[in-house]
């Protein structure tokens, strides 16, 4: 395999990643799933080049996925925490600055990956051996922490005590309900065999699109937001220590999410946010950019780390269908490719951000949301068939509960945490006996 081919295919992947990532609610994993579907039938590109194509796509997504999160909505759980500070920036006409802050975090983390790449093969394998037997209880603790760290959202408006009590505990109760409903749905999808075997490689796709993407699009249609005119200057109002703090906090969360199974970028950011007590919107957004990059790209790179080769994230799982890394040279080539894709993604995303910011008030947001919902439904139908649409519908029903009842959307990640904690624990068989599959 020539390095030139690897580079070219990764640049192609970066363009594809960026092309699809600015579209609200569309996840790069859905595009990669479509690719896997076609590749399995046609062998479109040589299997030894697929990893570099994936790397380009994911790197592009890690950067450009910030755009819909800041300008339009949130498209996956890793961007949930952008919402408050990013909306603030957007409402002050500084959406582009928020994008630039996030990109700074991502680019900084790509350098961090590059420099730490030499040590990872020696640090991570023993760390994995040390932690592997503790994963079930760690996951269970995180699930419990997510539920317990909910707080009563009270306004003191209801006149009666009962009314206030209901208001205070309603959201907490709904948080628990959402966690277990999504957990049960995840269990059914993963273990129940409700989807056709031929499309099972993407069984989480309708689940995640339903839990996160479609509910937000529906709410955007219903609430119809008003957005002010945006500034498009390439400047950020922050300091170098703040950038470093943001990268550190984000890397902590992203690293946690990338390394541990089941913990997604959103959970990683949530835990790191609690652990580092971040202050300031700029630090927060830089941290989210770093977290997102490390979760997606760092997690993908773990598949190539010699002596480790763990699959984290949908991309690595999909890639493993066609390919298994074998050497140090592939690893270091991948590190280099990621750095080059990162620089390319940074500049391309910046340009797209300017274009969006310039035309934001002209974009028919409601119509765009409807088109995207139709696209998601058609994509799900094309890959998963009618069964996929059923799962998508049920997941959408659950995914709508958090914003409508004022609880955290992160609770929807029960869809992963609950079934996988059960699977890794020693009582998987007993649960299976009770449920019946």
């Amino acid at each position: 395999m020539s390095i030139l081919y690897a580079l070219l295919i990764s640049v192609g992947g970066t363009f594809i990643g960026i092309l699809f990532s600015w579209i609200p609610a569309l996840h790069i994993y859905n595009i990669l799933a479509l690719f896997v579907f076609i590749q399995a039938e046609t062998s479109l590109i040589p299997s030894n080049l697929i990893p570099f194509f994936f790397a380009g796509c994911i790197t592009g997504y890690a950067f450009a996925g910030t755009l819909p999160a800041i300008y339009f909505s949130t498209n996956d759980d890793t961007t949930l925490f952008y919402l408050l500070p990013a909306q603030k920036f957007l409402m002050y006409g500084k959406g582009h600055e928020a994008v630039l802050l996030s990109l700074t975090g991502s680019l900084g983390t790509s350098l961090l990956i590059f420099f730490s790449a030499f040590f990872l093969p020696y640090i991570l394998p023993p760390l994995k051996d040390l932690l592997i037997s503790h994963v079930p209880w760690i996951l269970a603790s995180i699930g419990a922490f997510m539920i317990l760290s909910e707080w009563p959202r009270t306004t003191d408006r209801p006149k009666t005590k009962i009314g206030r009590l209901k208001e205070a505990w309603g959201s907490l109760f709904m948080g628990v309900i959402v966690f277990f409903l999504s957990g049960f749905l995840g269990y059914i999808v993963m273990r129940g065999g409700v989807l056709a075997p031929e499309t099972s490689f993407q069984n989480l796709m309708p689940l995640f699109l339903g839990l996160f993407a479609i509910p937000w699009l529906i709410l955007n249609i219903v609430s119809n937001p008003i957005l002010p005119k945006q500034e498009i200057e390439d400047k950020i109002m922050t300091t170098y220590p703040k950038i470093l703090r943001g990268i550190f906090a984000g890397s902590l969360g992203g690293g946690l999410a990338a390394f541990f199974p089941v913990i997604t970028g959103g959970i990683g950011a949530f835990l790191a946010g609690h652990a580092t007590a971040q202050r300031g919107d700029d630090v927060f957004i830089i941290g989210q950019g770093a977290n997102r990059f490390l979760y997606y790209v760092g997690g993908f790179l773990l598949f190539f780390v010699p002596f480790l080769h763990i699959r984290r994230g949908g991309a690595a799982w999909m890639l493993n269908i066609f390919y298994s890394p074998t050497s140090f040279s592939e690893y270091f080539l991948m590190v280099g490719i990621i750095l080059i894709s990162s620089v390319l993604s940074f500049y391309l995303t910046l340009q797209i951000s300017k274009t969006i910011a310039k035309n934001l008030t002209k974009i028919p947001y409601g119509t765009l949301s409807v088109i995207i919902i139709i696209f998601i439904v058609l994509l799900t139908f094309f890959i998963m068939g009618i069964k996929g649409i059923i799962v998508l519908t049920v997941a959408t029903g659950i995914g709508l509960l958090p914003p409508l009842f004022g609880t955290r959307r992160l609770n929807c990640l029960g869809a992963l945490i609950l079934p996988l904690t059960i699977q890794m624990s020693s009582f998987s068989g007993s649960i299976s006996k009770i449920i019946g599959f």
């Binding site: 592997i132 273990r191 099972s200 219903v222 519908t393 709508l400 009582f427 068989g429």
Partner: protein, 438 residues
């Protein structure tokens, strides 16, 4: 589509909220949001119930190995076939059980983890080589396909009928087939990994019955006495190019009686040529009428001959009563008794001894002129009027003789003449090889 949602009090945009986040004013409930709330609850709960019922009632599709595709990663499927390898079980990390299944179109590794693996063992629902299996699990796509069982009820095992055979008829052509045979227990050995090897024989033919370490009640096998006649049912695997029997359960071994085993003794007469001693025995090469043979003389047998020990030297003509035994796939002649008919009576001078060949059993006499003790044994130097010779005495022998081996004493020593780091030395085979000269 809804109107833009503005607070009725402060006029700020409030999105889907029911209470204004800026001024706290309660907003009139929008019909769209109310409708969405109820619809989402109905879809979430109703849809989950529907999916749950459909998952419970639907059977996982039965798929052939040749039809597996990479896009089936994580699919719940069923497979039917024959177990083509002896299962593997590992207790580490909570338990892991695996075997290879062949459905006639290919092979796939089927595995179970932790409590599922442990339950398969504890409830003895595991399959064995040659069993027919119907298994449902989650498919994983790696370099090869893997099927993971999540419940012990997901595996249904059908054990084939056993064919009755004599031990002598069990050959490697029966690999993977289930047989039933009878034999007498010759020995039972527990290996380091706690599995058990039991050698059974019948009319001069032998076979090993192997009990994997994870079998329940395997202590019952260890408790079997030698010469017990047993009936065993099991599958035939090939190990080191020889057939063995692996029963499905310990209960497949049934005691049907006891038998006195008469091992025929055989006489082997010949002249001792060379040999070597090891920790527990001595291998001796003898020249017989039928050619050169090697016999094994256990040291505990050898030591019974006390003073005669020194006469078992190269050149001695000996009558060995031996029995034949199989060891590591080879026949071995083990000495039960021996009778030395003649031996070289002359005690060699050191100079004469040094001219002889390495590997011979020789005897000499000399005075101790040097003595050094080391951890593995002791090195003494003896001297006569023709020269000096090093004698190496291993620790176990040294412990028996050290009290009377003193500087200046004269010894008659027999042993194996050998070379160590380019220098000749005499190594006594047992403590009886060393005598103080009067």
């Amino acid at each position: 589509m809804e109107e833009k949602r503005i607070c009725i009090n402060c006029g700020k945009y409030i999105g889907a909220r029911e209470v204004c986040p800026y001024c706290g004013e309660e907003q009139p409930k929008p019909i769209g949001i109310e409708f969405l709330k109820w619809t989402s609850i109905i879809i979430a709960t109703g849809g989950l119930i529907f999916l749950f019922i459909s998952a419970r009632v639907s059977e996982a599709p039965l798929i052939k190995i040749k039809d597996l595709k990479p896009t089936m990663n994580f699919a719940k499927i069923s497979m039917k076939g024959i177990v083509e390898s002896s299962p593997y079980y590992n207790e580490e990390r909570g338990g892991y059980f695996s075997f290879w299944l062949n459905d006639g179109t290919g092979s796939i590794k089927v595995r179970a983890f932790k409590n599922v693996a442990r339950e398969l063992i504890e409830k003895e629902t595991y399959p064995c080589l040659g069993d027919s299996v119907y298994v449902t699990g989650i498919l994983y796509t790696r370099e090869n396909f893997l099927l993971t069982i999540n419940d012990i009820n997901d595996i249904k095992v059908k054990i084939p009928q056993a064919k009755k055979l004599l031990i002598k008829d069990i050959t490697d052509t029966l690999e993977g087939q289930r047989i039933e045979t009878e034999g007498t227990v010759f020995y039972i050995r527990e290996y380091r990994n706690k599995s058990i090897g039991m050698r059974i024989g019948d009319k001069g033919s032998f076979i090993t019955v192997y009990i994997p370490f994870y079998y329940k009640n395997k202590e019952k096998v260890l408790a079997l006495e030698k010469r017990t006649v047993i009936k065993v049912k099991g599958v035939v695997p090939i190990y080191k190019e020889k057939p063995e029997i692996i029963p499905h359960y310990v209960s497949d071994i049934k005691i049907i009686g006891r038998k006195e085993i008469k091992v025929e003794g055989k006489i082997l007469k010949g002249e001792v040529k060379t040999g070597y001693a090891f920790k527990k025995g001595i291998k001796i090469k003898i020249e017989t009428e039928e050619g050169e043979k090697e016999v094994l003389l256990w040291k505990k047998t050898f030591k019974r001959y006390k003073r005669n020990v020194q006469n078992l030297l190269t050149g001695a003509v000996v009558e060995f009563e031996i029995y034949e035994k199989e060891y590591k796939g080879k026949e071995e002649y083990v000495v039960r008794k021996f009778n030395i008919l003649s031996y070289p009576e002359k005690i060699l001078k050191i100079k004469e001894l040094l001219e002889r060949n390495y590997g011979e059993f020789l005897k000499t006499k000399g005075k101790i002129v040097d003595l050094r003790e080391f951890k593995p044994g002791a090195k003494i130097t003896i001297e006569d009027n023709t020269g000096k010779l090093t004698v190496w005495i291993w620790r176990d022998i040294w412990e028996e003789v050290k009290d009377f081996l003193k500087f200046g004493k004269t010894l008659i020593i027999a042993g194996e003449f050998k070379e160590f780091r380019g220098k000749p030395e005499l190594v006594p085979r047992v403590s009886e090889d060393i005598i103080i000269s009067e």
